[in-house]
Amino acid sequence: MTKDEFLTTLRTLIQDMPPEDRRDVMNYYTEYFEDAGPEREQEVLHQLGSPEQVAREVLGGGFAPAQEPAGAPRRSRGLISAIAMICAAPIALPLMAAGVLVVCCMALAALLCVGGLLLAAVVVVMMGGVSMGAALFAGGLGSGTVLYFLGSGLVLLAFGVLFVALFVRFGVFCFRKITDWASDFVNRRRVRQ
């Protein structure tokens, strides 16, 4: 890079500064090169770093980059999207209804699964309880029978606990998913507006 390239780039980068400040900056750095002398031009370029670096330091006092040109004013944007929504309604409305229906079915299915698990858990625990109870009364029939009833009762109880655990896990999972989808839906609405 040469001194002139450096200075030209720098001038472009700081063009949004107030004219007086911009002139001060350009004068300072132009003089800087000239005072160093042509023989030290490369040394100075090395010292100063890139024009971008210098511009950043110089702009550092709170100057913001140029803003994007403003989009269409808010009011006309609203009108246009309202018209678009009306035109799209014949297709959009049934689609939305279908979507809602799908969600409801999925919710129902999840509910049935969860309910089923709970039911299984309750039944199995009851069977386990009955079996263990039978063990108490079967004392007269011999220790083998008692052990059989006791053992099978415990196994059934274990399955019951497993079903309860699954029920809780699955239930929490479904609940989370539903709340996630719900909040996504609400947020998407908000962002569009």
């Binding site: 004068n27 300072y28 003089e31 800087y32 000239e34 005072d35 330091e57 110089v58 006092g61």
Partner: protein, 109 residues
């Protein structure tokens, strides 16, 4: 060099150098750079800051057919330099008590 001057210390050094004699940008930067590494390029932001605070002002002198801008310390700048000097002595002694003293009362485990 491991340590770098913070903004305040840099201001102080620039004021100190200028209090010994007016200088223009390039020479001033070289003088400060000789002593310590400066992260800022060419000191322009420092000089502008000090100018805005009223610690420096500038004047132009023709040189070889162009203008050379000199910086000089104002009375307010002299005051500020004195403040910085006092703070530096305090700061330096505090750092010394931690950094330079060998292991003393740290074995109270």
């Amino acid at each position: 060099m491991t340590f770098q001057l913070g903004a305040a210390l840099l201001d102080a050094c620039v004021l100190a150098v200028l209090s010994r004699g007016d200088a223009y940008g390039y020479v001033l930067t070289q003088q400060v750079r000789q002593v310590i590494e400066v992260s800022e390029t060419a000191l322009y932001p420092v000089l502008r800051r000090l100018q805005k605070d009223g610690c420096l002002d500038t004047y132009d002198q023709p040189y070889q057919g162009r203008n050379r801008r000199y910086y000089r310390v104002t009375p307010q700048g002299v005051e500020r330099l004195e403040e910085y000097r006092q703070q530096w002595c305090l700061y330096k002694s505090r750092v010394d008590t931690i950094l330079l003293k060998e292991g003393q009362e740290n074995d109270e485990g």
